[in-house]
């Protein structure tokens, strides 16, 4: 006789689908969930602590995404992103929480992975109130619910999807791939995991007028440019930096756009003053950019060492609340003879 051993989180006969502009959770065979076709999950009981329950998924749940035009039921949910700033495809994790009577399930989306308890009421949105899903910890119900009934309750992660956001804060569910679906998850990025510095891009100066990095986003809470072996042709030139809020179409250069250690109003930040110019001097810096996607002033704080100069590397600020999405390095009056510039991002979770 065959025996089946069910464990908390066991998912039976459940499936995700992208149908037109709708994301739908239904039966895995493509049919609607219902009395004769009932998926179920094994769940930690919210009534009898220490016990598990078999809880049935009684009817399809889902929402219309940005592709549905004015019918979107997720517009305004920020999930910790910056309002008005588009986001490329981002992993979302799908959770189930049982209703208070433990006779049905509600499906939620969250950017947080491996959560075992839902957040507080204020961090839960639904298809009627998507704008309640403000923070990166928020849960969004793919149906209409009473949020308080699902706050701080046991939840089970049952799969993942991917969504991208437009500048209207509306989200589009990506087509399901092998990395997404019930009990499917995106691959861990190479070069670093959660909470680690991840390599993004590299440039090798060779008598270059400038070096730029674009596409900075809220995927990372800080950026760092590691500069090594920087040689310049002339002694006494400065290493400068500017920022952009239009992804590098232009770089802010107003006479009072920036402040730094040596000047409270300037058209750039001077990272280092009066570098030594002999070949092989090879200055070295780590230039940190604090949360450029935040709608607050953007702070730049380098550490490093160089020969010559009138002071240590200078901290500075871009005095604007507009999010920064590109940065530019250049010398005050020469090219960048040689040196490597490597961009890293600090993964927030």
């Amino acid at each position: 006789m065959q025996r089946l051993f069910y464990y908390p989180g066991y998912t039976n006969h459940l499936g995700f689908a992208k149908s037109g502009n709708d994301f739908v959770v239904r039966s895995s065979d493509g049919r609607d969930a219902g009395s004769i076709n009932m998926p179920f999950l094994i769940f930690p009981s919210r009534v009898n602590e220490g016990s598990t329950e078999k809880i049935e998924f009684r009817a399809n749940q889902g929402f219309t995404d940005a592709g549905g035009g004015g019918a979107s039921e997720i517009i305004g949910a920020l999930f910790g992103t910056t309002t008005g700033v588009a986001e490329s495809a981002t992993p979302f994790y799908v959770y189930a929480i049982s209703n208070p009577d433990e006779d049905n399930l509600v499906i939620f989306l969250s950017r947080q992975k491996d959560v075992n308890q839902s957040p507080v009421t204020a961090d839960i949105g639904d298809t009627n109130d998507p704008t309640n899903a403000i923070t990166i910890d928020a849960f969004f119900a793919v149906s209409s619910i009473t949020e308080a009934d699902y706050a701080e309750q046991p939840c089970v992660m049952i799969g993942s999807i991917e969504m991208s956001k437009d500048t209207s804060d509306d989200w589009t569910v990506s087509a399901l791939t092998a990395e997404h679906g019930v009990n499917r998850y995106p691959k861990i990025a190479t070069g670093g995991g959660g909470g680690a510095w991840e390599f993004i891009s590299s440039a090798e100066a060779s008598a270059s007028s400038s070096i730029a990095f674009t596409d900075l986003s809220s995927d990372y809470i800080k950026y760092m440019v590691a500069i090594d072996g920087l040689d310049t042709p002339n002694t006494g030139t400065n290493l400068n930096m500017r920022t952009s809020s239009n992804n590098g179409s232009s770089y802010d250069s107003g006479s009072s756009d920036y402040a730094w250690d040596g000047d409270s109003v300037d058209s750039e930040i001077t990272i280092a003053e009066s570098l030594g110019g002999a070949a092989g001097v090879g200055s070295s810096f780590n230039v940190y950019i604090g949360n450029p996607s935040e709608t607050k002033w953007t702070y730049i704080y380098p550490v490093g060492a160089f020969y010559g100069g009138v002071s240590p590397p200078n901290v500075g600020v871009r005095k604007s609340t507009t999010a920064v999405n590109a940065i530019l390095f250049f010398m005050s009056s020469s090219t960048l003879t040689s040196g490597t510039f490597k961009l890293y991002g600090l993964n927030p979770s």
Binding site: S209, S210, S333, F341
Partner: protein, 73 residues
């Protein structure tokens, strides 16, 4: 002359090249002005330091140590 964007080398147009070279001239002047201002600030600080060191009875070595600490260039 070229610029590098996200690791890709892009040749500057003649206009961009002219703009870069013009900015170098402006920046040279800006750096010279800043150096001049620092020298003027230093002259004021140096003078004040000498007066204070006389009042405080500092030795020449002590005065030079303070100069090294506080003067910017």
């Amino acid at each position: 002359m070229h610029k590098i964007v996200n690791g890709k080398t892009i040749e500057l147009t003649e206009k961009e090249k002219a703009n870069v070279e013009a900015s170098w001239v402006v920046n040279e002047e800006k750096i010279a002005n800043r150096k001049l201002k620092l020298e003027q600030d230093n002259a004021v600080l140096s003078s004040a330091l000498k007066k204070i060191s006389r009042i405080a009875g500092l030795t020449l070595d002590e005065e030079k140590a303070y100069e090294k600490e506080y003067l910017k260039i």
